[in-house]
Subunit: 246 residues, 2 copies
Amino acid sequence: MTDNDKVQVDACFSPYLYPVYRDSESIVVIIDIFRATSAICTAFEYGAEKIIPVATIEEARHYKEKGFLAGAERNAVQVDGFDFGNSPHSYMGDIVRGQTIAITTTNGTQAIEAAKDAYKVVIGSFLNITALCDWLLSEKRSILLLCSGWKNKFNLEDALFAGAVTEALSEYEPFRFGDACLALKYLYRMAKQDPIKFLNYSSHKERLARLNLKKDIKYCLTPDQTRVIPVLKDGALVRMEVGVGV
Amino acid sequence: MTDNDKVQVDACFSPYLYPVYRDSESIVVIIDIFRATSAICTAFEYGAEKIIPVATIEEARHYKEKGFLAGAERNAVQVDGFDFGNSPHSYMGDIVRGQTIAITTTNGTQAIEAAKDAYKVVIGSFLNITALCDWLLSEKRSILLLCSGWKNKFNLEDALFAGAVTEALSEYEPFRFGDACLALKYLYRMAKQDPIKFLNYSSHKERLARLNLKKDIKYCLTPDQTRVIPVLKDGALVRMEVGVGV
C-alpha cells in the first residue's frame, strides 16, 4: 500500500482552528476529556436514549422548561438550576435511563457545534477508546481528532487522548498521520505509564483539583468502561455500538 | 515567587489561532524553521540592513520594481523573477550586506502579519536560539511562541523549536508555562539527541526532501550561528543584538 492509498489521520487542537482542517469526507472525533465527552459516554453507558448538545445556557434552559433533563457547565462548575454539570459521576445510575438530555459545556459542546456538518461526528474519551478505535479501523476513512481544548486554547489531556488514538491506530496499514498526530503519539508514549502524574502540571488539572474533582480525573482517564460510541444524527447524539451501523 | 507573580509562556500552533492567544503585553516569537525565520536570521548575520516582510507576491514585486532585493517563496519553491526564495543559503555572502530586502513566504511572513500589533515581535530559529533565550530571560515579560505551521496547520519542526525554547527557559524562576509548552518540552527532550531523525516522518521534511534540500534542513537545525535577534520596528525587521536595546 503506497502512502497515497492511505487515509489521513490528523489532530486539531482547537474548535477555533477547525475551519483549517475541515474536510467533508472525514470522520470527526470530538474530544473533551475533562469532562464533557467522558460525561456523554457515561450517560449512554447508563442507558441515556439521546443527548442534545447545545451551544448556550439559554438553549439548555429551554429544553429543561419543556420537561427534559438538562446539564449545563461553565468554567468547570455546574450552572444553577440544572440537573447536571459535566461530572461523569452525575450521569451514572437510573436517573438517565431512557432519557433525552440537553447539555451545554464550556468547550466540548462548542466543538460539536463547530464540526456538526462533517461526514460523521462521534464522541471519544478514554472510557470508550477501544470501541472507538475498532470502529475507526473498520471504517477506513480519513479521521480528524478534534480536541476541544480550554476556551479554544490547546490543553494537555485532550492532546494526550488524541495521542492514545494515534498510537492505537498506528500499527494498522490503512492510515497515514499528520504532524500533530506524530507529536501526540510521542507525548502519549511518555505519559501512558502514569497519565495522572503526567497531567499534574496541566492547566485544567489544576483547575479541577481546586474544585476537588480528583475522583472525576481518575475516572476520566480509565480506559474501556463502555463499548458505546455516541454519534451525532439529526442534531442529537445517539448510541452506536461497534458492529452496529446507524 | 508564587505562580501569580510569574510571567506566562505559551505556544500557539497556527497564525490562524493567534486571535485566541493575542495579548497586547506579550513578546511574540515568530517561528518558521523550514525556512523563513532561519533565512531571515541568516540574512542579518550576513549583514542585511533591513527586511520588509510582506504578505503577498504582488507587494514583494512592487519592492523589486523599486530597486530593492526581494525574496518570494510559495510551496517551498522560489517564485520566478525574484532574487531569493527562502533558502538560508541564498542569503549568505556579500549580496545581502547593507541591503534592504522584501520577503514573502507561504507561512512565516503570514505569521508576522498576524502578530504585527503585539508589544514586540521577534524572529526565532535554532540559528539564534541562545541569544533569543538570553534576551527573553532579561525581559521578564510574557511570551507567545507563534509557530507558523504549514498553511495554518500544526507542523513538527516549529513545535520542536518552541519546545527547545521552553526547555531553555524552564530552569528560570520568572516563567510559568501553558499546556502547549509543557507538551512541546517533552517532545523536544525526546528529539534533541537527533532532531533530523526525529523529523524524518514530518510532512514538511518530506516536502523538502523531495526538493533535494537536505543541506538546508541540516543548517536550519544547527543552533547558535548568530547572536542577532531580528525585531519588527515600524513594519520592518531590523537587527537587535542581546544587550543592545532597540
